[in-house]
């Protein structure tokens, strides 16, 4: 569970979310990513490190440069973490609807 908590902490930061959005369209080098932000380069590097540790980003060596690309599988997991909670309420409310429809037919 620790790893998962880290993932959610990772995406809680606006700069890191911006990085994910940026890299989502194409893989980019650390320098290219940093050039999109006013933040100091080491700060961007730190963000990249956190995103990589959480497996939201993958690294790919290309010549002398390291490129960052999005890990779609992990992103899917994150997007879905609220889904079981939503589904739990959806199931409950579906049941409520069914029960009350029956109830209204009985009482008529």
């Amino acid at each position: 569970m620790n790893l998962r908590r880290d993932v959610f902490q990772a995406i809680a930061d606006p700069t890191r979310r911006a990085i994910l959005l940026l890299v989502a369209s194409q893989s980019m080098s650390a320098g290219a990513i940093a050039s999109n932000f006013d933040t100091a380069r080491p700060t961007v590097s730190k963000h990249l490190q956190i995103l990589t540790e959480c497996e939201l980003l993958k690294q790919e060596q290309s010549g002398r440069e390291i490129y960052y690309l999005i890990n779609a599988k992990k992103m899917k997991e994150v997007a879905d973490f609220i889904e079981p909670f939503r589904k739990m309420w959806d199931d409950r409310f579906n049941k409520l609807e069914t029960i009350m429809k029956k109830y209204s037919r009985q009482s008529r």
């Binding site: 569970m1 879905d80 609220i82 079981p84 909670f85 589904k87 409950r92 409520l96 609807e97 009350m100």
Partner: protein
């Protein structure tokens, strides 16, 4: 996939909004929230006590698949039939603390209605933990539906 039940949980906020529209007249939707035997059916919980009035309180109890009992309770602060219920909610013997719930019931047409549940938690961290509960249970239970959801995505 149509999503009838919507969850809005903004980043960094200690609140949560659940909305859902029903093919039910407002009166029936409200009734489903005040009649103990009906609540028991759709919430899957036992209603030990339910006083539907200002300063009233309630106590629910669920039994998990292992047979362990889990208690829930709260106090009712506002009770306006077919309009709103304001209440606290607390899971007993957990570190989650008490949460404040504003349930609003709205008539859409003669045959349709809507519920809006606005929940406020003590902290952002607690909200996120509670949101993840069904997710965590899904991981712990081998044959839980989370696996079905994940497998459908593959």
């Amino acid at each position: 996939m149509e999503q009838k039940t919507k969850i809005n949980a903004e980043d960094g906020k200690q609140e949560l909004v659940i909305t859902r529209e029903f093919d039910l007249p407002l009166e029936l939707l409200f009734k489903a929230h005040v009649e103990p035997d009906i609540i028991e059916q759709w919430m899957g919980t036992k209603v030990l006590k339910l006083e539907n009035k200002k300063h009233g309180s309630y106590q629910f109890e669920t039994t998990d698949p292992k047979g362990n009992k889990h208690g829930f309770n709260g106090t009712i602060h506002e009770f306006v039939p077919n309009q709103k219920i304001t209440r606290t909610f607390e899971m007993e013997n957990t570190p989650f603390g008490v949460q404040l719930e504003f349930l609003e019931f709205e008539r859409l047409t003669d045959d349709t209605s809507k519920i809006n549940i606005h929940t406020i938690f003590k902290s952002v961290a607690l909200r996120d933990q509670i949101l993840k509960l069904p997710f965590a249970q899904g991981i712990n239970m081998a044959h839980n539906r989370i696996q079905n959801i994940v497998s459908k995505l593959k």
